[in-house]
């Protein structure tokens, strides 16, 4: 289909288009025209990815000077693969249209674990070990030694890539992980480094969030991306947490112990090297005296992404004298580690700001702020000089050095919390030092500053105005799209009381209440009786799940459930969970029907889709608030209030509702799909909770579906299920939720726009 979107000719690879896809493209084009950031919410399964790709590819072709690169960030490997499949289809369509290959390269970058083709290394299961073994084979000094001594092993794939592949470019086309691997195997080049190299010249790069958000990785991977690129964060409803995690450090007793061991190793290596050949150490020392000028030169050209871990200030100065010498630096780290040990030896919880920490460290172990700031950089240089290939052994010390650099660099937006034990087990000492970022905007700020357009998109971003606040940016376009449907294929309901009129709620006071638990069980039993195939049920926490299931067992509800469907439970063990999930899917496929009890914020709620018969009903038992007693959360709430004027309750509700929406959204993955969404908690019916649901759910959550009892909801569901069971063909959709080109032109742009975002009453 050839579309004209406000003067831009877009080739759309399908014969039909959804009205909301059309409006999505219009909004996206406006944002790119304005060179601003945008925030777009569109229900999952309505073709976000293909609209995004179609528009941006068209834009890149028409205005290559305005826009030269698309960086698409997604969360998981399957999602990334899906994006590439869409892209391949799009490019194929272009080829058919123009009868020639178009010069667009799309490439994926993933970890070494997913890309390695070395026959020994790829056997490893753990990503860190793969990285370590790869370093062992490819580090420059290992390769140097290999030149004189053949017994030192190197990776032939990497060698060949260095010799020949470095200069060559991939042919235009789309390269998935498997494509890269087979290409690498054919040429004898390392696929990982092909991809790394391709990131700099490919038109479309697809990878995980961390390559852009985590400052430690972004420095290496994403520094060459030009300013006139579009960055897309897909499934971005959790982006603030990703940002915060990438800037936070957690120090446990184990890390400290391993760091101490690392320091002893370092000291030994230095001594050894001094005896054997001090040349390298003196060279390094000379470099230290001259300063980190190399890095600075790279940054001056504005080609390097400003790294928040390494502030500009550092680059302009030479390394402070007291950590220039390798031995002095080891002594310095030793003091720092000893200091952390003292801090971990606490009896009660300590909360402190970075400024307080710095003052204390000055008094206790005479460490100034300035050398601390250089710790991470200095350690990296030392490890390089000492020719330590496998840096995984030193990960503990690296973590400690990151802490040193962060704590001395940022005085605002961070907090230090030392907990002597976990809240659940106050008798078992397990001290942890949290250095926690409170401000999500610190990590994403360089991205917003640097790239002309950043697109944040997901199926559940409501309420939209919260994201600009917590990420501290000004979006040019901020829209929520609804889903145009030929039939009401989702049935959201708020069940607030049981058949005996007892209000059901997961709030703390009524958690232990047997009648509430029984009513939840009753609700589930009734649903299981009438809903075919798969039913998914989300609880607020593992703890609550366990206690409820235990009570159900005593009340005989579990046996009743099992009479209708097989029962599977998500646990904290990932292996066990994936087994349960596998069998759940099997049971649904066979037509036996199954019920899965899982937990909001767990693995199932975030990454697994229950499309079609895998999830005909989703029950959200309780409102998934975070554990509000956690000190880290409290500190963050306080910070949000002081800095961004967001009230505690607003943020907590926002966070709970986005997770609830995320959970129930698992059931609907397209327009032909259908599913029931039950919010089983009295508190959902209050206006402030309801209004925070995504628009596409709110639209179908009419007043007669709010505040129901179990029986009423079952009646609604029965009627609705019969309606859904009628045959449904494409012709039914045409003209309403699916448009051909003629219909699109006939309807006129205005109408379509309106259809896609009907006002909610």
């Amino acid at each position: 289909m050839r579309l004209d979107i406000e003067g831009l000719i877009v080739h759309f690879p399908y014969e039909y288009i959804y009205p909301e896809q059309y409006s999505y493209m219009v909004e996206l084009k406006r944002a790119i025209d304005a060179k601003g950031h945008c925030l777009l919410e569109m229900p999952s399964g309505t073709g976000k990815t293909v609209s995004l790709l179609a528009l941006i590819v068209a834009y890149m072709r028409q205005y290559p000077s305005e826009l030269c690169k698309l960086v698409y960030c997604s969360r998981t490997v399957p999602e990334i693969e899906k994006v590439l499949e869409e892209l391949r289809r799009l490019l194929q369509y272009y080829e058919e249209q123009f009868k020639e290959k178009i010069p667009i390269t799309g490439v994926v970058l993933s970890s070494r674990k997913n890309l390695c083709i070395h026959k020994d290394v790829r056997q490893e299961k753990d990503g860190k070990i793969v990285d370590g073994r790869c370093h062992n084979l490819t580090a420059s000094h290992v390769r140097e030694r290999h030149l004189t001594d053949d017994s030192v092993p190197v990776c032939t794939y990497f060698e060949d890539f260095e010799d020949y592949g470095n200069e060559s470019y991939l042919e235009p086309g789309v390269y998935t992980l498997d494509d890269l691997k087979s290409y690498g195997a054919k040429k004898g080049w390392c696929p990982y480094f092909i991809a790394r190299h391709a990131v700099s010249y490919a038109n479309i790069v697809v990878y995980s969030y961390h390559y852009l958000l985590d400052p430690k990785i972004a420095e290496i991977v994403s520094k060459d991306i030009p300013k006139n690129s579009v960055v897309v964060f897909d499934e971005a409803h959790n982006i603030d947490n990703v940002c915060i995690d990438s800037m936070s450090v957690k120090i446990t007793k184990r890390i400290i112990e391993r760091a101490s061991a690392n320091l002893l190793d370092l000291a030994k290596t230095i001594r050894h090297m001094k005896e054997v050949g001090p040349r390298r150490l003196t060279e390094e020392y000379q470099r230290m005296v001259d300063g980190l000028r190399e890095t600075q030169q790279a940054r001056e050209t504005d080609m390097v992404l400003a790294n928040p871990v390494l502030p500009d200030q550092i680059l302009q100065e030479a390394i402070p004298g007291n950590i220039r010498d390798a031995e002095h630096f080891v002594g310095f780290l030793r003091r720092f580690v000893e200091y952390l040990k003292i801090r971990l030896r606490v009896q009660f919880v300590v909360q402190e700001s970075p400024a307080g920490f710095l003052k204390d460290i000055m008094q206790k172990v005479c460490i100034d702020r300035k050398p601390l700031r250089f710790a991470a950089e200095r350690l990296a240089s030392l490890l390089k000089t000492l020719e330590i290939a496998d840096q995984t052994d030193f990960s503990a010390l690296v973590v400690v050095s990151h802490l040193a650099t962060l704590v001395s660099t940022y005085t605002k937006g961070f907090i230090i919390i030392v907990e002597p034990f976990e809240d659940k087990t106050p008798n078992i000492p397990n001290p942890i030092l949290h250095f926690r970022c409170l401000d999500a905007s610190i990590a994403v700020k360089p991205i917003f500053d640097r790239f002309q357009t950043v697109v944040i998109t997901s199926g559940t971003l409501s309420p939209l105005d919260m994201y600009p606040k917590i990420l501290d940016f000004q979006p040019k376009v901020m829209t929520s799209f609804s889903m145009t449907l030929a039939r009401p294929c989702l049935l959201p309901m708020i069940v607030s009381k049981g058949n005996d009129q007892v209000a059901i709620s997961s709030k703390f006071e009524s958690r232990e209440d047997q009648s509430v638990v029984r009513n939840y069980g009753q609700l589930l039993v009734e649903i299981v009786k009438i809903v075919p195939d798969g039913v998914v049920c989300f609880f607020t926490s593992y703890l609550y799940l366990e206690s409820v299931v235990a009570a159900w067992y005593d009340q005989g509800i579990v046996t009743t459930l099992q009479r209708h469907k097989l029962l599977f439970i998500e646990t904290q063990d990932p292996a066990e969970t994936s087994l349960a999930l596998l069998n759940y899917i099997k049971a649904c496929e066979r037509g036996r029907g199954a019920i899965l009890l899982s937990v909001a914020r767990g693995k199932v709620s975030e990454g697994v889709d229950f499309d079609h018969h895998l999830g005909r009903a989703v029950v959200m038992i309780g409102i998934p608030y975070v554990y509000t007693q956690s000190r880290i959360l409290k500190a963050r709430l306080e910070y949000l209030r002081d800095t961004f004027q967001i009230r505690e309750n607003d943020f907590l509700t926002f966070d709970a509702m986005r997770h609830a929406a995320q959970c129930v959204g698992r059931a609907i993955r397209g327009k032909t799909d259908y599913g029931i969404m039950i919010f089983a908690d009295k508190r959902f019916s209050s206006e402030d909770k309801r209004s925070k649901l995504p628009r596409w759910i709110q639209e179908y959550l009419t007043d007669n579906l709010v505040n129901l009892s179990t029986e009423e909801s079952i009646q609604c569901a029965k009627r609705w299920l019969k309606q859904m069971a009628q045959p449904f063909t494409r012709e039914d959709q045409l003209g309403i939720s699916l448009l051909t080109l003629e219909q699109l032109q006939k309807e006129g742009v205005e109408n379509i726009q309106q259809k896609a975002r009907q006002k909610i009453k």
């Binding site: 004298g321 002081d642 004027q645």
Partner: protein, 327 residues
């Protein structure tokens, strides 16, 4: 951490929770009861290395690593004299060299390398920089000052937040009490049915809450401690690097220039000061008393003002009425 043990009597922290490890200048640890036993006379030699020690020099071990303990001891001693700040050096390179020198001295002393020559160099340094060292003992460096200010700011912030929360809570409590009383009064004296009164009160309460929500002002930014005048001069007398106060910020806003006020009257111009007397308008105004004249009051003022008021805007009214009719 739990496996702390005395090297001599092998008592561990686990067996004796009140175990306290002590260290002396040599950096070897002993538990407090061993110290009592061995140093009964006030002095003796270290059981590990045989260095003669005084009992009074024993102190509680803070660090787990006795080596770090020893290093810190030496470092503190060295830092007492080597207390120069970055501001005392001509350039960064000199400062960095100085820092390295300090580090080298500490390293040598802790690892017993060239102790004699190192101590000599310390003495030389002390002699050469006597004045500077004495001066630096009383003042603190730039970084420390920044930290102090930050801490002060944080303290203020916490306090102001506490106050704000307390204030809000009090207001809410008062309001709740008041509405409760009003409800009871209403129930006592009103003729309406109790149910409807309760209903209206509930509704009103909800509305009020919404109103509150809507008008809630963002909390004001916390007060930042005033550390400088508006000109940029710091309150406290800190001597900057070059020994002079910073040059006050030049105020380059343009000077005030008087421009006579132009009045738009929208009516006939009132008589001038002279005309008021000439044309006898003044006769209709009361003569000013002695007391009033002392204050600078003249009858012309009142007369002029009354006239101006009467004439002002005469034409505006006509226009306004005309447009009103059309609409």
């Amino acid at each position: 951490m739990d496996e702390q043990a005395c090297p001599r009597c092998k008592t561990t922290k686990y067996r004796n929770p009140s175990l306290k490890l002590m260290v002396n200048v040599c950096g070897h640890a002993l538990c407090d009861s061993c110290v009592d036993l061995l140093f009964l006379k006030g002095s003796g030699s270290c059981p590990d290395c045989g260095v003669p020690l005084r009992r009074s020099n024993f102190r509680v071990q803070i660090f787990e690593d006795p080596f770090v303990e020893k290093e810190m001891d030496i470092r503190r001693r060295v830092m007492r004299d080597y207390n120069l700040k970055e501001e005392d050096f001509a350039n960064l390179q000199d400062y960095n060299n100085y820092l390295e020198e300090v580090e080298r001295i500490v390293y040598n002393l802790t690892n017993n390398i060239e102790i004699v020559s190192t101590n000599q160099s310390i003495d030389r340094f002390k002699r050469e920089n006597k004045d500077l060292i004495a001066k630096n003992r009383i003042r603190s460096g730039r970084e420390e000052i920044i930290l102090e200010e930050l801490l002060e700011e944080e303290k203020l912030l916490v306090e102001s937040r506490k106050r704000a929360i307390a204030h809000e809570e009090m207001l809410e409590k008062k309001k709740k009490m008041r509405s409760k009383e009003a409800l009871i009064d209403e129930l006592m004296f009103s003729e309406q049915s109790a149910a409807s009164i309760v209903e209206t009160f509930k509704k009103r309460k909800l509305e009020e809450q919404e109103e509150l929500e809507r008008h809630r002002e963002p909390s004001p930014p916390p007060l930042v401690a005033a550390t400088q005048f508006s000109t940029g001069i710091k309150f406290s007398q800190r001597i900057p690097k070059d020994g002079f106060l910073p040059v006050p910020k030049a105020d380059d806003t343009p000077l005030f220039k008087y421009e006579p006020l132009v009045l738009t009257r929208n009516g006939p111009s009132a008589p001038t000061w002279e005309e008021v007397t000439e044309k006898k308008y003044i006769n209709h105004v009361r003569e000013s008393s002695v007391g009033e004249r002392a204050g600078g009051y003249l009858p012309q003022l009142a007369c002029l003002r009354a006239l101006e008021e009467a004439f002002d805007g005469l034409r505006t009214v006509a226009v306004a009425r005309w447009t009103g009719q059309v609409a």
